[in-house]
Amino acid sequence: MGIKMTRGAFARPGTSLEYKTGSWRTQQPEYHHRSAPCHTACPAGEDAQQYLALVEEGRYQLAWENIVRANPLPAITGRVCHHPCESACNRGQYDESIAIHHVERFLGDRAIKEGWDYPVSTPPEQALVVAVVGSGPAGCSAAWHLVRQGYRVDLFEALPMAGGLLHSALPPYRLPRDIMQAELERLLHTGIGFLPGKRLGRDMSLDELQADYPAIFLAPGTQRSRSWDSGGATPSDLHVGLDLLKQWTSIGTIKHWSSVAVIGGGNTAIDLARVLKHAGVESVHVVTFQSLPQSGEQLPDRMPAIAREIDQALEEGVTIHEHRGVQRLVLRGEQVVGVELVHMKEVPDSQDGAKTVTFEGTESILDVDQVIPAIGQVVDPEGLGSLLNHGEFLAADNHGRIPGHPQVLTGGDARGDRGTVSEAIGDGRRAAAQIARMLQQQADPEAREDKPIVLEQLNLNYYEYAPRPEVPVLPVEQRSASAEVQGGLEQQQVHGEGQRCLSCGSCLACDNCWTLCPDMAVLKRSEAPAGEAPYVFDYDYCKGCGLCAHECPSGYITMQAEA
């Protein structure tokens, strides 16, 4: 039976809805959140793309809460982190990367200033108590994440104050003490039981801890300097980099030399070189077999120190000798009067590794009156018993589990394979999650590869070029041991960074798919659950042309073959 013909064959409005063009489809668009490179690159696990979106909406407190759900110390990391998020930022290949660490710092500072409460409730009295040893970044992070998950924490610290390496090794011109103390203090008031002056091996033993606590997170850091010599010779008054730095940060003075060679390419070497310079050492040399950072290139043998800090050190008059090693000490009696340098480089070997090679005939003498090795620290074995297993570090899996010790986890510098505050914070977060799983007898989560979305998967036609804001830096002549060198951004600039964010892999709610679908198969909704797009596909009509996916600025839509 047919339909009744109408007069003149007129038709009624919108009746085409009867015809489901979705049956034509061979591939369908889907909304998929894909990780932004800033997120996958963040050692602490922050999702900058998410909080930048909140910043753009002017929801600063929510943005801060978003950060602290991964990293409880944004005012600190916003200053000291080497921000791999910014190196990974897709916008860096378009014009200039988002100043993510400045946004983080701004939010951290704002939280302190406004007294925003950490988004957590105090764990109940009857909650299980977990022991955390060491209140550096890893320990603080683990303690925070445990509290967030409803556990009580006893946080043991050998020193009278919390902070660990933050306190002892980071010079105030990088991390002002008031900021650091304010942030740590606020964190410790979230329900963490802080127990200062309790040193493992002195005030309690590992066995006691194991007996008293169902789980223990060890974050002792690396307190012992690695031994150093040059052809068997050491300066008679050997000073080790980190010790000097600690001495200086705690008592504010440092021994005066006229000319110093600091050996090493890490942050300690650079920090120390700058401290020496501020303390009036006339000629400060950094000797490293690694390379100076070069913009745009990721050299495999690049110095691990933060590029910004290296630049500032150079500005301040520190001399850096890249690709050099110390061949021997030049001694007058027992007194150091110089070092013999030689060209030295990492050369890849056939086993996919690299070995450090010196080049004969490139020797030269550098006149210095002191040599300070800053080539790294190892774990102090005191109180750790068999855990170290004669190694320099605590070997652990990615969750922080130490093989053979089911109750004990570790993280931070003590692992030996970390080296930054942010990594330590990430370790603390992962270990806390693992402890929770362990205590709740849950299986390990499925390992999944989180490949970040790359620039080519975005549609750059929809973005406008916009420069990264200029950040105030203290002029060299005004720098001192305590004045913070790096300035921060104004609120307006921070908001601008939110706007500049490309929103890689996440819905911008830009309406492109809704606007550009020739088939009106994208419908907009006034409210959507958090983290979801405010759009849905109406597959009854979507023909699968792929236009929405191609024109999605942020790569949030992908085409999938029809099942």
Binding site: R12, P13, Y19, T21, H32, N461, C517, S526, V536, C545
Partner: protein, 331 residues
């Protein structure tokens, strides 16, 4: 994981979209049809108090397979060559009835540049309060891609195929907007489906004018041009960014504004992704000459209309489609 929320009541949601729906889903346009999109954008911007006269063509065919119609506005299709005259009659009637309802004529390039040209000229000359929108997909697509006077030079169509002796269409694209503007009408403009906010702005501008107005929208045809439907916007955007399709506005016959091209792209960027120009990329002297010819035509447009952007501008070829979180750029 597909983040598409399946718990949503789709048909209820469809009825509460925060925009005016002039054309509904279920129309039978090809995948990625630029004309379907452009027409929808025009109806959205024009709003409900409009009646439409639609010339014969793809748009008419794919929207109204009786007993179904995709239109949610008063709409009439009469013939191929009389959209402007039908619209004129509607306008005369509404004027007589004292109604403010606007009349919009819709036609393709065949119905505008060629067979409907006379009726269009008459309507413009008589000063009817009609917005005439031409969806220019540069050939007779409804009948199977035959060349029209809008087909660009050197494009291959079924009646201007490329072969040993020919490099596609021998003649030039008719400069319709200049001809239309020469009627001394209050407003004539070009736009592109790649720039929805530009289309909206121009539709609204035309709607506000009591008199004949003309909007010429470059609308991609994946089938006729030979590109993937997913690239419909990309191709249209490149037509603008190369200078081959100038986006301009004329009032009373004079150019009053243009969309500047911030970053002028070589025409090959546009041509090389369409099969209708594929023969121009053969290792052939004539092909090389024709490629240069098309580049020269683009250069000429850029020079004549002053399309080269002096500095970055929110309304230039790069700025006009910049997205914002929350989507307000399309409003």
């Amino acid at each position: 994981m597909n983040d598409n929320d399946t718990s949503v009541d789709i048909s209820a949601l469809r009825n509460e979209q925060p925009r005016f729906t002039g054309i509904e889903s279920g129309h039978r346009a090809c995948l990625g049809c630029g004309e379907a999109l452009a027409a929808r954008l025009v109806t959205e911007a024009a709003g409900p108090d409009v009646i439409y006269a639609n010339a014969t063509g793809c748009l008419e065919v794919f929207t109204t397979a009786w007993p179904e119609s995709a239109w949610r506005v008063g709409w009439m299709h009469s013939l191929f060559e009389n959209a402007a005259a039908i619209a004129a009659g509607m306008e005369a009637a509404l004027k007589r009835q004292g109604k403010a309802t606007k009349v919009i004529a819709l036609a393709g390039d065949g119905g505008t540049f060629d067979i409907g040209f006379q009726a269009l000229s008459g309507m413009l000359e008589r000063g009817h309060n009609v917005l005439y929108v031409c969806f220019d997909n540069e050939a007779y697509m409804n009948t199977g891609v035959q060349r029209s006077s809008s087909t660009p030079h050197a494009a291959s169509t079924t009646t201007s195929p490329s072969g040993e002796a020919r490099m596609g269409k021998r003649h030039l694209k008719k400069d319709i907007v200049s001809i239309v503007a020469a009627h001394h009408i209050p407003y004539a403009a070009t736009s592109s489906v790649a720039y929805p906010s530009d289309i909206r702005k121009k539709v609204r501008r035309a709607m506000a004018i009591d008199g004949p107005t003309f909007l010429h929208i470059h609308s991609t045809c994946p089938l006729g041009w030979g590109h993937d439907g997913a690239l419909s916007i990309e191709v249209a955007r490149l037509a603008v960014q190369t200078g081959l399709f100038p986006v301009i506005e004329l009032e009373r016959g004079s150019v009053v504004s243009v969309m500047p091209i911030r970053r002028v792209r070589p025409v090959t960027d546009y041509l090389s992704i369409q099969n209708r120009f594929r023969h121009l990329f053969a290792d052939d002297d004539q092909a090389r000459v024709e490629l240069e010819h098309l580049q020269a035509l683009a250069d000429h447009n850029i020079e004549v209309y002053g399309l080269r952007g002096e500095k970055a501008d929110a309304l230039d070829s790069e700025g006009a489609n910049t997205v914002q979180r929350g989507g307000m750029q399309w409003a």
